[in-house]
């Protein structure tokens, strides 16, 4: 199963009496990187969870071309890669074991070679047999990025991917994002590191109080435009 667009139409999500998303509409196409910006608690992670099929919207529709999470099921999930705030890796296992476990679940072909390449990219080859529990946050983050991308997903959802990364790893991840776009992936990335993400994104949108507002191209850096938009919204 494959798809080339993600469409959210009037998606709302409530948790009890709190409304996290309020009639959000967004469309992403293959080969596009979209930055999802917003203050803490704006609903960014909720939106990523809904796009990843892990969370159902309270109302509205999420479509992957003409498919929905219910109709496409496991085939759809196999084309989605999610890097969440929690890193989805087992600290008792080594990085190689983590990647092999998830690679087998996703039936990744030529897995051993891909795991080697992933560990090389994450600069963890020399620690491939050590338990992840002993790793720094940055090392875990690099591993989690590789875990999310191991199966070459069509839809890449990244929640604060630069957290804990040093300059070299940040530059490598930025390059990776460009590579994903060239390969036809659609990338939805949330971040507060606007200076880092600005050179690689195609457009940005802001979530404010559960509503989605586009950041229009214009004068100034992404951060300046973002601040102007936030100031206008408050």
């Amino acid at each position: 199963m494959d798809f080339t667009s993600l469409t959210l139409s009037d998606v709302s999500r409530t948790f009890g009496r709190r409304r996290a998303l309020n009639r959000v509409s967004l469309r992403c196409r293959a080969g596009e990187i979209v930055a999802l910006l917003g203050p803490n608690g704006a609903g960014k992670s909720t939106l990523l969870s809904i796009a990843s099929t892990l969370l159902e919207p309270s109302s509205g529709a999420v479509r992957y071309d003409d498919h929905t999470a219910r109709t496409a099921g496991a085939g759809l999930r196999g084309r989605i890669g999610l890097l969440a705030h929690d890193l989805y890796v087992y600290p008792e296992l080594s990085p190689a074991e983590n990647l092999l476990f998830f690679g087998r679940l996703y039936r990744v072909p030529d897995l051993a070679r891909r795991v080697d390449a992933a560990l090389e990219r994450a600069e963890l080859s020399h620690r491939r047999a050590d338990p992840v529990a002993g790793f720094s946050r940055g090392m875990r983050q690099r591993l989690a990025v590789e875990r999310a991308l191991l199966h070459e997903p069509r839809l890449v959802l990244l929640d604060e991917p630069f957290t804990g990364l040093d300059d070299g790893a940040t530059a490598a991840l930025r390059e990776r994002l460009s590579g994903l776009r060239a390969a036809g992936a659609m990338v939805l990335v949330t971040t507060h590191d606007l200076e880092i993400i600005e050179p690689v994104i195609d457009r940005a949108v802001v979530l404010q109080s559960g509503r989605l507002v586009p950041v229009e191209p214009g004068v100034g850096t992404l951060r300046e435009r973002y601040r102007r938009l936030c100031a206008a919204g408050t």
Partner: protein
């Protein structure tokens, strides 16, 4: 898609690998179960003679309590890095994830029972090995029924704040029939006049509970885990 049994094997293998590394659940549940049996032994054994049917009740209490402990810890691991969501996102049959977790818990409880059963036999002078196949059948069927419901509830409660309190509160009322059947079946084997037909009847009851609980769990796991 990875096949159902392939997924079960992957999840079970991963859980057992983690347990072999940490030995956390095995040691804590074993320590708890043995302590439980020893404390009851001091209360219910006088001058080398145990109160009638005490051994059967204490064996199943030790299994149920240590099983609850194992279930809670097995899913606490999936909660720490939210790896349960990573499993739910994988392109596999979601009920296979449930079965994989269940088999992992069963292996651990099997290891605990391998130690606890001889200790109960020793402390209570109980003839637990007089009818080994029937006793093994009762233990296997009872443990499967208890763990089948427990695995479902523990997975459901993984993100609940009061999960440690809620798990036993939800689990024990539902699994009371399993525990009663286990106790009565074991008691039928331990009494002076061994009642084999009664033990077989309770074993049949346990198998029936297993089929019902596993079927319901496989049926409800995916909808219950969807947020």
């Amino acid at each position: 898609m990875t096949s159902f049994l392939g997924t079960v094997w992957l999840v079970t293998r991963k859980d057992l690998l983690i347990e072999v590394r940490s030995r956390e659940i095995l040691y804590t549940t074993l320590f708890f179960a043995v302590s439980c049996v020893l404390v009851f032994a001091f209360g219910f054994v006088r001058e080398g003679r145990a109160i009638e049917h005490a051994a059967a009740g204490i064996l199943w209490i030790a299994i149920a309590f240590s099983g609850t402990l194992a279930l809670g810890r097995a899913f606490e691991r999936e909660r720490q890095n939210d790896t349960l969501r990573a499993l739910m996102l994988a392109p596999v049959d979601r009920p296979a994830l449930y079965v994989g977790k269940l088999v992992g818990v069963l292996v651990l409880l099997g290891a605990v029972e391998a130690v606890v059963v001889p200790i109960v036999a020793l402390m209570f002078q109980a003839r637990l090995f007089a009818h080994p196949f029937l006793m093994a059948g009762l233990l296997i069927a009872g443990t499967v029924g208890f763990a089948a419901v427990g695995t479902l509830f523990a997975a459901m409660l993984v993100r609940a704040r009061s999960r440690d309190v809620l798990l036993p509160v939800l689990l024990y009322p539902i699994t009371v029939p399993v525990i009663i059947a286990g106790v009565r079946g074991t008691a039928a084997l331990l009494q002076a006049d061994v009642d084999l037909p009664m033990a077989r009847a309770w074993l049949s009851m346990l198998v029936f509970f297993d089929v019902v609980f596993i079927t319901l769990s496989l049926w409800t796991f995916e909808p219950l885990m969807t947020e």
